[in-house]
Each structure stands twice: as C-alpha cells, then as structure tokens.
C-alpha cells in the first residue's frame, strides 16, 4: 500500500531542492516538506486559500514542453528547460505539478517579501513592548527576516478602534490587524458562526463583529490562535505571561472522547493556558474554548490535597493506603466504580486491584450529552474505550449506577471503591451511601469523598503521564505538565500501593505498566508508552468492542460505524 502511494507522488523543486509531494499540494506545504519556510500570513492549512497577504510570493518556473509533441524541451546538457515566469506567484495558490519549480530567495522573491513586509508595517502600531503577541508574532518574526530595519513612512498612521471586546473571551485591536481574514474564514468555515466581517474599505478596512452580536461560540479562541499578529488576544491569557517564558507540554483534552491534542503552557509549576496541537487525524488545529478552561481544576478550591482517614487529614499517605486496603480485606462485599476519565494505565491497575479484592461488581460512570458535531463528542468521558480494552468493563457504561443501587438495597454490596467518581451524582441516594463503606480516590472533594472512610488524593491529567483511547480507538498519550499538588502521590502509586497490600508487587512506573499490559492485552501487543507517537496510534480492538453501540455521532474526522444490516 505504501508503495502504491509513493507512485502517486510527483517531483517538484524548491530552491533547487528536490521534493516529492502528492499532486495538487500547494507550494507552501511542498516547501515545508523540503525544509524551506515560505513566509505567509493569510494562508492556513485548514482554511480556504484567500491569497490576500501576498507574503508568500515566489518566483515560479514551469518545465518547458514542446507545444506540438508535448515532450519536455531539454537544454544542451540534457536537462529539462525551465520557463521562469516574470510575474511572482503566490505559493499558497500554486499547486504542485510535475517538474514545477519555485525560488523563495531570488532577488524577485526577496523584493516581494520586503515590499509586503514594509506595507504591512506602515499602518501597524509600534507597540510590541506592550503587545501580548510579542514573542509569537509572525509580523515580528518576519520583520526581522524580511524587514528593512527602518521606516520610510512619515505620514500619520490610520486610526482604528482599539480594545474592542468581540466576545467574552476575545479582545480585538483593529490597528494591529493585517486583514488576513483568517478569523473571518474560521468563523464561516469551521465554527459555522458568521459574525465577523470587514467594514469600510482600502487601508481603512476594519475587522468587526456585527453590532449587537458577539463572537461567543465555543470555538472563538481559535481565532486568537490563528491570528498571526496581536489583533486578537485572549481575555483570559492577556497580559498574564510572556510566551517565551512558557514551558510547553503535549497533552490530551479530557472534555470528550474526541481526544483533542493540546499543548499545556506553564511556568514554574503553574499552568497559564491550553492551546490546540495539530493532529490532522483528530482535531486539525482546533479545540473548543471550554476545553481550555480545564487547567483551572488544578488549583480549584475544592481540590483534594491530603489523604483523609475517618475524617482526619493525614500526611501519612502510606498509612492511608494501608487503611484503605484493610477495608477491602476479609468478608467484604465490594464494588469497584472506575472512571472514564482515568488513564488506560490507571484503569488497568484499578481492574487488577478489583480482581485482587474479589470485587462482586465493577462499573464505570457514563457521561453522555449532545455532541457539537465538531470537537466535543456525545461521550464526555475521554477514555471509556480504555476501560473496555483493559477489561475494567465489558459493556458501555450508564450514567446511573442502577446495578449498584440494587445491590446496595439488597445488601449484596457493603463496600465501594470510588475512583474519581461522585457516587451521588451517579444516582446513589444518601440512604444508600449511608449503608456502605466508601473508599475514595480522586482529585476533588464531593459528596462521595465527604462520606468516605478513606480518601486518597490523586492527580489531575496535567500532573501525570498517561494515555487515553479516543472515539476512533486512537491511543494518545499525555505528559506531565506541572508537578502534582497532592502530596507526592500520583494515581499509579496509590493503586500500586494498594496492590502491594494484597501481596501483588507491581511497579508504578509507566513503562513497567505498559510492559505488563502489552503482554496480557492483545490489543496492546508490542506497544509501549514510549512507542506511542505524538499523534497517537490507531488500535485494532477486538470485534466485540467494535460492535458496541457507541453514543458518538459524527464529528471532525470521525464517522460512527454504520448500523449493519444484521439479517442476512
């Protein structure tokens, strides 16, 4: 299959460098593949081509062909002759054809780049020191590379609106706007919320929201991400931190089973923002605004930071783990309630613990709501498929734990281990809770933790490594962005500690967990944590899992399996 695909590639030349690309690839992408950056502003790989900034102008050469025979014309040395077109072409709208050539550094190309750069700067305010975009501004970057270094503009700059609140999360400075129309196209083409547009014309053209409307859709912050300059900024991130101080960690959004790839930016253990990370198979370059808020859970007021035993906080987490394990020993009738928000590794260890403790019932709390058809799927758990693959559950979870309710009522269960799930939110009544002994492992206080005999503080997704399996059965990993706030215990250590109390010695190290998983779970065969690529790994789940009726509808890069005509 790979070979077939290779045959479809054609050869093009960027600054005399040969590169093979699929036909029709635009020349900005072809150049990138050759390791050459063609500067650009309006072009965005996931939006329609506008061709308005003119920054990507290059010299274009076409292979010369004999008009009559169509055969290539060769020079004296037998090389294909090239006809260089005197007018520059925009690389973004130039499609790869066999033998096509571009020059990105010729005199003409340089002159075009410098000219456009100067034009973009004449009416642009010189407020970089107080501009939030500084450090990640394409105008700043290219001004260094292609700028004149001084200004020849002595006229008065245009005056446009400043500090306009476009919506609850996005601020606009029109004087900085270079009218590339990326945000407008995003709203039309991706967010399907046509509220942005241009008014007036010529150099006075001004980006605006229709008066009385707001840019408030749940994807509004993507306009900030794609704004190549400091025109659109995030009200949340604005003035908080210079981007060059930020440490970037690859992560996965836990908002739903889409598994949006993200970058978590932090400094000195504090997270300042979450932005999307490009994954062409999952989220392209986008993410929902709501997912960007999730870092706030790290420092939420109701965060669990210490272990609790019989209502007393303790620094002795080891002791608390022992207490918890003791509660599971003996003639107990135990239920294990796991979470679709836990990582694959945690679900595996949790399942192992459940087996050791002789759990009579294991369950997961389902979270299904309406999907938005884009990047929030109906399944608001990021990792139900992990629970299925690890065998923690065998069927799709329900929102309400009715089996558990029944079992408690019938006194078939007297102890519950709740892992990051609030049982009362999952339908267990106060009376039912009162009838059972509860062990709670989790990140935040809730009704369940308040009633637990033992509470063990766990880590948020930002404070640990791990992996999720998204709706496509794509295994994706997330990395620790900041140190754990809860006393030195991440989830795997807690679970391994409890297992040790049952005499089962497992290493909590992620590679070791994977070594065991890849041995015992067919779907994970030959996979290790380090082997998971940054864009994820598509798994081949067993057919009984494939055939489940998952709640997700279609979304970006995901189509649910068609209902098969089962009668033959």
């Amino acid at each position: 299959m790979n070979d077939d695909k290779k045959q479809e590639l054609i050869t093009v030349y960027v600054d005399d460098r040969e590169v093979r690309v699929p036909p029709g690839t635009n020349m900005i992408e072809a150049a990138a593949k050759a390791g050459i950056e063609v500067p650009h502003y309006c072009y965005h790989p996931k939006l329609s081509v506008a061709g308005n900034c003119r920054m990507c102008m290059v010299e274009l050469g076409m292979p010369e062909k004999d008009r009559a025979t169509g055969k290539p014309v060769l020079d004296n040395e037998g090389n294909q002759k090239v006809m260089w077109i005197p007018k520059p072409a925009i690389a973004c709208a130039t499609k790869a054809m066999p033998g096509i050539r571009i020059k990105t550094k010729s005199d003409l190309a340089r002159s075009c780049q410098e000219g456009v750069m100067e034009f973009l700067l004449v009416n642009h305010p010189l407020d970089c020191p107080i501009c939030d975009q500084a450090g990640e501004c394409r105008l700043q970057e290219f001004a260094t590379d292609y700028g004149r270094g001084y200004s020849r503009f002595v006229e008065e700059k245009n005056v446009k609106p400043k500090r306009t609140l476009l919506g609850p999360r996005v601020m606009l400075d029109d004087e900085r706007c270079i009218l590339c129309s990326r945000c407008v196209r995003f709203c039309q083409e991706i967010a399907d919320d046509d509220v942005l547009g241009f008014v007036d014309r010529g150099s006075y053209t001004t980006l605006t929201c229709y008066p009385g409307k707001q840019l408030e859709n749940n994807y509004s912050l993507n306009t900030v991400d794609i704004c190549p300059v400091g025109a659109l900024t995030s009200t949340d991130f604005r003035f908080k931190m210079r981007p060059w101080f930020l440490r970037e960690t690859h992560s996965i959004c836990t908002e739903s089973s889409v598994g949006v790839n993200t970058v978590v930016s932090s400094r000195e253990g504090k997270i300042h923002r979450i932005t999307p990370r490009r994954n062409d198979e999952v989220n392209d370059t986008w993410m929902a605004d709501s997912g960007r808020e999730l870092y706030k859970q790290v420092e939420a007021k109701h965060r669990l930071l210490k272990a609790v035993v019989d209502s007393f906080e303790t620094d002795n987490v080891g002791g608390a783990i022992r207490e918890a394990a003791d509660l599971l020993k003996g003639e107990r009738k135990i239920a294990f309630v796991g979470s679709g928000r836990s990582s694959v590794e945690e679900q595996f260890l949790f399942k192992k613990l459940a087996d050791q403790a002789g759990a009579r019932l294991t369950a997961l709390v389902g979270r299904v709501a309406e999907g938005d058809g884009l990047l929030i799927s109906a399944d608001r758990n990021p990792n139900v498929r992990g629970a299925l693959v690890t065998g923690l559950i065998n069927e799709l979870p329900e929102a309400e734990l009715s089996d558990l309710e029944d079992a408690i009522d019938k006194e078939e269960i007297d102890t519950v281990v709740a892992y990051n799930e609030d049982l009362s939110a999952a339908g267990i009544s106060e009376q039912q809770l009162a009838k059972v002994t509860i062990i709670y492992v989790g990140t935040h206080f809730n009704e369940t933790s308040a009633r637990a005999r033992v509470v063990l503080p766990a880590s948020t997704v930002f404070e640990k490594n791990g992996s999720f399996i998204n709706q496509q059965y794509r295994l994706q990993k997330f990395l620790q962005a900041v140190p754990g706030r809860a006393e030195g215990q991440d989830d795997r250590r807690i679970l391994a500690g409890m297992l040790a109390e049952f005499g089962v010695l497992v290493s909590p190290e992620i590679d070791d967990v994977w070594a065991e998983m890849s041995e015992t779970i067919e779907t994970f065969r030959d996979i290790g944590f380090m082997k998971i690529p940054s864009t994820g790994l598509l798994l081949d789940p067993p057919s009984h899992l494939r055939d489940l009726r998952y709640p997700e509808g279609g979304s970006l890069h995901y189509e649910p399996a068609k209902e098969e005509a089962s009668v033959t």
């Binding site: 046509d194 509220v195 942005l196 547009g197 241009f198 008014v199 007036d200 014309r201 929201c209 229709y210 008066p211 009385g212 409307k213």
Partner: protein, 169 residues
C-alpha cells in the same frame, strides 16, 4: 419585522419581484439595499437585519456591503444629496471650486449635511461624464458643465424647493 420596517407597498412588491431573478438569493442583496434605501433614505440597522433574514444571510454579510459601497448609507442624510465629481477630468475643469460653491451655498461641511439636515454635499469619484466636466449629481439627476455660476443656480433651485430635473429621467 415588516411592521418595524414600514416599507411602502411598492417597495415590498419590487423586493418580491427581484429576488427570484437570481439563481442564488444572496445576489439580491444589493438590489434590496437599493430599494430599501430609496424607500427610507438610508439603510438602518433594522433594515440590515431584515434584508439578511429575507435572504437567509447573517446580518454581518449585509453590513459588510452597506459599509463598503459609498452609495449606501447607514445613517440618515439630507433630503437632497448633491455629489460633485472630484476625479481628474472634472478637477481639471474646476470641480473643487464647484464643490466649495455648493457647500457654501448650503453651509455644509465636506461630506456633511447642511445645518437643517436638508441637503448633503459630498465629493464623488468619477461619474463617467468627463467631457461635460465638471459634473454634479443631485440625487439621480446629472448636471453638466457645472461651473461656479451654474452651481449657484442649482443651489438656488434646491433652496427654493423646485429642483430642476437635470438628467434624462
């Protein structure tokens, strides 16, 4: 919404006639803007939203046009709109003086209204009658060879409320 707009019956009728002319409704936005402006003197915010609704568009799609085309107005203007061609051939024949004469006559600033709001005098770009420069449009009517003297005459007629029809209407 049609009540809010209070459009004349003829205007509504014309609007309904013009929309089906186009294979795609959106094309009717400029004709509708003209019709509404002819009816009401300008394109209000309500009108913008009404047109958008009528054509299955978002208000911003209409607003972008209102604010692009110089002939469309998003604010009320004088009952008489006087547009003096500013472009080269007319300027060579003295259209700046023509414009000043007219502005003085109505006591209005450039691109502004007369104090009573009755007359708007503004510059326009080339009106495509360069051989009869300088030219002036009073609403829909073209006036040719408008030198100072003729400008005063036109101003007088407007002030006396008996605008002479200049064009071939």
């Amino acid at each position: 919404m049609e009540d809010v707009m209070n459009l004349k019956k003829e205007t509504l009728q014309k609007i309904d006639e013009v929309i089906p002319r186009y294979p795609e409704k959106r094309s009717a936005v400029l004709p509708l803007l003209h019709l509404v402006q002819e009816d009401q003197g300008f394109v209000s915010r309500d009108a913008t939203e009404w047109i958008a609704e009528k054509l299955g568009l978002k208000p911003i799609n209409v607003w972008e046009l209102v604010r692009f085309y110089p002939m469309l107005r998003d604010k009320p203007v004088g009952k008489k709109v006087v547009r003096v061609c500013r472009t080269l051939s007319c300027a060579l024949q003295g259209s700046y003086k023509t414009c000043k004469t007219l502005r003085d006559a109505f006591d209005c600033k450039l691109d502004g209204n007369s104090p009573d709001g009755a007359v708007t005098v503004e510059f326009a770009e080339c009106l495509a009658s360069c051989h009869t420069a300088p030219v002036v449009m009073v609403d829909d009517d073209l006036h040719e060879h408008v030198d100072e003297e003729k400008a005063k005459k036109i101003a007088g007629e407007i002030l006396n409320g008996q605008p002479k029809q200049g064009g071939s209407a």
